[in-house]
Amino acid sequence: MTKNITCVTCPMGCPITVELNDNNEVISVTGNTCKRGEQYAKDEVTHPQRSLATTVRVEGGIHGVVPCKSAGPLPKEKIFECMEAVNAARVNAPVKLGDVLVADVCGTGVNIVATNHCPAK
């Protein structure tokens, strides 16, 4: 079986073809122009991952929310579950860039970290 995917690792967006055997194991990857593309393609057909960028509600800050991101990629099928967990979280100002806002989100082992400062009002 072959799968055609578009690499999302960088803005190049290479069209990649992945060949799989009957056990869903990757036999070949073609069309990628770099190593990261090869790894992305292998992950994408076996266990797709995405990083998440969203916001967490802040109490007493200059803004209502502070932006955050997953410190690493999350399993794609868990993205909405993680969104729920992040939306349920509340943090108090001041928040510093890099602060862990949600630790080990949904048991993925990945932290949600602040991507900006939010000083107190």
Binding site: C10, P11, L52, V65, T115
Partner: protein, 418 residues
């Protein structure tokens, strides 16, 4: 009246990079004026990642990218005023601005760097028929509501325009629980990056309707629906009989950016009819002495990384100007031919000491094309490019020894041959 060597209008990525470079080049008297409440510009609301791959070699979110420069502005003790609106730049480079703390400010600058960025094309620029119900806004406005203020502007959303901002907002609204019914694109192709179509639309099964536009907006107080229609690819006019109505409460418009050049025009600076930004030389100096322009107010960039690099050139140029180190000016002009829509800079000083990079953009997609650079009709450079696309800015370098052979009022032409 205040006095500064350099006043920078705009505290986004362009303004900060220009100010920092000018400081590095030995100018200490610098003031940044920013309209918003914080430095950082539009990056503050661009919370998705993908910034900095070129400049820092790592993938950052917008606020993280901005923070690297904000921290440097603090460390270098560069003065700045936020919540400050610049009203006018005068003929003798006085900057008039207002804020709540100082009232009206009159600032005499030796050099002014214009770094105001862009604003989004509004509904009024599109002439969409229909009611004036609430729920119609630009994608960037919605982005600010969601990412900075923390509230959702709607639940059922149609997006017009498939540029990167439209695509990013389709994902963002979906993640926050809205239903994005579709993204409509007037052109037969999306101007957004392929990776954004994959990770913002395909991942969430959001349909992208190409050659499609919004022809009517319904609703009394709040939008209740929009009518979309197919367009003829030759005329870009709606095709009668293809209309259908989609129920929604929000229409986001992501239909292009306009460099915010009101101040520039007021000074009487010449604008390029294609970029809608100032006509500049290789240091990004406009035709008004001592006034420079950089970043998206000069021309719309694909990546903030390129904005940073360009603004450093302007910062260096402004520093040279202030210190009286500018070479005597004898200009040649640059000219895009055929598919090459524009070139920045539009003119180059022959007495420049270094190499000069010419940035240009093509009007359509090419595969295995050759970029040709000619001086007064004679071929200088020929470079193969596997791919050229309107969404990707290209560049060629004119080496200094080549520049030295040119004569005043000569013309450098860039063209694409298949």
């Amino acid at each position: 009246m205040l006095n500064y060597d350099i006043v920078v209008v705009g505290g986004g990525p362009a303004g900060m990079a220009a100010a920092l470079k000018a400081k590095e080049c030995g100018v200490d008297s610098i003031l940044i004026l920013e309209r918003a409440e914080t430095l950082g510009g539009i990056l503050e609301q661009c919370i998705h990642t993908g910034f900095g791959l070129q400049y820092f070699g790592e993938e950052l979110s917008g606020p993280e990218y901005a923070d690297r420069f904000i921290e440097q502005v603090y460390a270098e003790k560069i003065e700045y005023k936020t919540d400050t609106m610049v009203l006018e730049v005068s003929q003798d480079n006085k900057v008039y601005a207002v804020n709540k703390a100082d009232g009206l400010l009159e600032i005499q600058a030796k050099a002014v760097i214009l770094a105001m960025g862009c604003r989004e094309r509004p509904r009024g620029a599109l002439n969409i028929a229909g009611t004036r119900a609430s729920g119609v806004m630009s994608a960037g406005t919605a982005q600010k509501y969601v990412n900075i203020d923390g509230y959702m502007p709607g639940k059922k959303v149609v997006i017009l325009g498939s540029g990167d901002i439209g695509l990013i907002m389709a994902r963002r609204m979906t993640l926050e629980g809205a239903k994005v019914e579709c993204v409509c694109e007037l052109m037969p192709y999306s101007s957004g990056l392929t990776r954004n179509i994959v990770q913002c639309l395909d991942d969430f099964n959001i349909p992208l309707y190409l050659s499609t536009t919004v022809v009517d907006i319904q609703g009394k107080d709040r939008v209740t629906g929009v009518t979309i229609a197919k367009v003829d690819d030759a005329t870009r006019k709606p095709i009668p009989g293809t209309e259908r109505t989609i129920e929604c409460d929000t229409l986001l418009l992501s239909v292009g950016l306009i460099p915010e050049n009101e101040l520039t025009k007021n000074v009487g600076i010449s604008l390029d009819r294609v970029t809608n930004g100032a006509v500049v030389d290789e240091y990004r100096e406009t035709d008004h002495k001592g006034v420079f322009a950089c970043g998206n107010v000069l021309h719309v960039h694909d990546l903030v990384d390129f904005v940073t690099q360009e603004s450093q050139i302007a910062g260096e140029g402004a520093a040279k100007y202030v210190k009286g180190e500018c070479a005597e000016k004898e200009y040649i002009t640059t000219k895009g031919v055929g598919a090459v829509r524009y070139i920045v800079p539009q003119k180059v000083n022959l007495n420049n000491e270094g190499d000069v990079k010419l940035f240009f953009r093509v009007g359509s997609t090419f595969k295995n094309a050759t970029v040709k650079v000619k001086y007064n009709g004679e071929e200088l450079i020929s470079r193969k490019r596997p791919r050229l696309a309107p969404g990707e800015m290209e560049n060629v370098v004119i080496k200094n020894d080549m520049l030295k052979k040119f004569a005043k009022d000569g013309v450098i032409e860039i063209s694409v041959e298949v």
